[in-house]
């Protein structure tokens, strides 16, 4: 009899141990009709940034706002909204900040192309300078320069003797 009770207790204990796990899994349980739908949801919440905890995406963040926005994304995915529509919905409210794939604007274009522009202009300036220098070398000597050259050579000859 004693043995039996112990067994029963073990069973209850096992159930209790499993309980918190199942509760945790239920916090953010979303139901999907298809794998494509689920993939879309997962992709969206990875690409959208939480406005509250800025270095986390919606998927990682535990902030209540991130939870609300996840729910929003879920609802929109269920409504069959396109990815672009969902992103636009968020941008209209939270700005370009919310997406990890910011669109091309003048500001982001400077960031993308600025370094290449600087590199190319530096290369152009360098080649121009080098060209100018070599062009100087190929110029024929002026009269004054010829005189100076001759006097230097004469001096040199004298020293050599």
């Amino acid at each position: 009899m004693n043995h039996l009770i112990c067994r029963r207790h073990c069973w209850i204990l096992c159930c209790l141990l499993m309980l918190p796990v199942s509760v945790l899994a239920n916090i953010d349980a979303y139901q999907f009709d298809s794998i494509a739908e689920e993939d879309k949801f997962k992709k969206m919440i990875k690409e959208l940034r939480c406005p509250k905890c800025q270095n986390q995406n919606l998927s990682d963040s535990n902030a209540p706002l991130a939870k609300d926005l996840r729910q929003k994304v879920y609802n929109m995915v269920k409504q069959g909204k396109a990815e672009q529509e969902i992103t636009q919905y968020m941008i209209d409210r939270y700005g370009n900040f919310i997406t990890y794939r910011p669109p091309m604007t003048i500001g982001t274009m400077i960031l993308w192309f600025g370094p290449f522009f600087l590199l190319i202009s530096a290369l152009i300036m360098m080649t121009m300078r080098i060209k100018n220098k070599t062009a100087d070398l190929n110029q024929p000597l002026t009269e004054e320069e010829k005189h100076r050259l001759q006097s230097i050579m004469k001096q040199h000859d004298k020293e050599a003797q």
Binding site: P51, D92, Y94
Partner: protein, 182 residues
């Protein structure tokens, strides 16, 4: 010779401009997001009143003069900090509309009874949908809405004398007089 000297100064000037941007970036708080709704109309809504769930408040019922829209909740300590100052603004004749954001109705009503009610109206945004439409990312936030229903400014964080004097008053003076008493 003179021409090449001025050419030499170009990289230096670019460098100084670059430094200036970096220097400015140091005092930038990345947590402060600029609202994308500036100069855009207030989003449409239709939500229960905080004090009476049978009353539905529509966005059309917002004041026709310029007013403040204050997002608050009882779970937010900074809201408690700014509450007294909002009362002062009310005494100055400024219309304030409250958005009770993701809160419990009873707690919010008790808070207003206990600390005073600076609001002309309070809408009860339990699910936070109006918050999302406004781009709210925390409480408290205070919006300045003009007489045409356009959002002119958003301040994230508690309202106080400094913020009021430096951010809100100059904008309000530009818009014309604010509030019911005119």
């Amino acid at each position: 010779m003179k021409k090449s000297n001025t050419m030499m100064a170009v990289p230096l000037v670019i460098f100084i401009v670059f430094l200036w941007f970096l220097w400015k970036g140091l005092s930038n708080d990345p947590r402060i997001l600029e609202s994308v709704l500036i100069n855009k109309p207030l989003p449409q809504f239709s939500i229960e009143s905080l004090k009476d769930k049978n009353i539905i408040i529509q966005s059309e019922a917002m004041p026709k003069t310029s007013y403040l829209l204050n997002v608050w909740a009882t779970w937010c300590p900074s809201c408690r900090a700014e509450h007294q100052y909002l009362g002062k603004l009310k005494q100055q004749g400024i219309s304030i509309i409250g958005i009770n954001y993701k809160d419990e109705r009873e707690a919010a009503i008790a808070w207003l009874q206990q600390l005073g009610d600076p609001y002309q109206l309070v809408v009860y945004d339990e699910a936070g949908q109006l918050g999302i439409d406004l781009g709210v990312y925390g409480a408290p936030e205070t919006y300045l809405v003009d007489a045409l229903g356009k959002i002119r400014y958003r301040h994230a964080g508690p309202m106080d004398e400094t913020v009021w004097q430096s951010q809100f008053l100059p904008r309000i003076n530009r818009l014309g007089k604010l509030g019911g008493k005119q």
